[in-house]
Symmetry: C2
Subunit: 135 residues, 2 copies
């Protein structure tokens, strides 16, 4: 774990910086929130990306191609232990071109240096009403 | 927390029973793996469902309408603490009609009675290759 220069005192603080990075398309902020570890990221509709370098490359691509989106977030559920926090978050994303509602499970882990993001799993809501099926 | 009759010694055991329930369309097993608590569930493409009763109603609908699917699962990443475990799992689902690959973040919590599921967040993989965007 090489993240000694990244100091966030709570999972909520990490989450706040993560979404600021998003809103401001600020890749430097994004680099600071992730643990330098075997982190995992699932962008909506995509396969899992494993490892700090690959995850950060995907965010660099997203943030360099986004049009300063407006993102409003609300936490649906926090599940916490002393060293792990799981937040289910609803993201309302407006990009000018189109709007989307994304559900994200964000996982934060406490290291010696403080809390960092270790997983982000996003999925777009296509339907609020249709019956659930296996797929 | 009313789950004193549900005893699973590890998160892996809960996960195993969860996927057996899936494979066998066995709703009784599904009822046993979830905590009687403010659990949350996101089925692929859908909004979040909050609370034991609503989550179980959604699974009852799914399992009563499924054609005994074949589900193969592999764990991509386990993130654990003493009382919380987060598994990112790849599910290969064959229903006869169609196949799908679903990524699921499964969250398990340790109660006095043992480990139980508190969150399941699934998303279908639509693309392995296309560049990631905000939506």
């Amino acid at each position: 774990m090489k993240s000694s220069n990244k100091i966030f005192s709570t999972a909520d603080v990490v989450e706040s910086v993560f979404y600021k990075s998003f809103n401001q398309c600020d890749f430097d902020k994004m680099r600071k929130v992730w643990a330098d570890d075997e982190v995992v990221c699932v962008h909506p509709g995509s396969a899992a990306i494993v490892g700090y370098a690959a995850v950060l490359r995907s965010w660099q691509h997203i943030l360099s191609n986004a049009q300063l989106p407006d993102i409003q977030v609300s936490v649906i559920k926090r599940t916490i232990s002393e060293t792990l926090a799981v937040h289910l978050v609803e993201e309302h994303i407006e990009t000018g071109k189109q709007n989307a509602v994304v559900l994200a499970t964000n996982v934060y882990q406490k290291y010696d240096s403080g809390w960092l993001m270790v997983e982000h799993h996003g999925s777009v809501i296509h339907s609020q009403t249709e019956p659930h099926t296996l797929q």
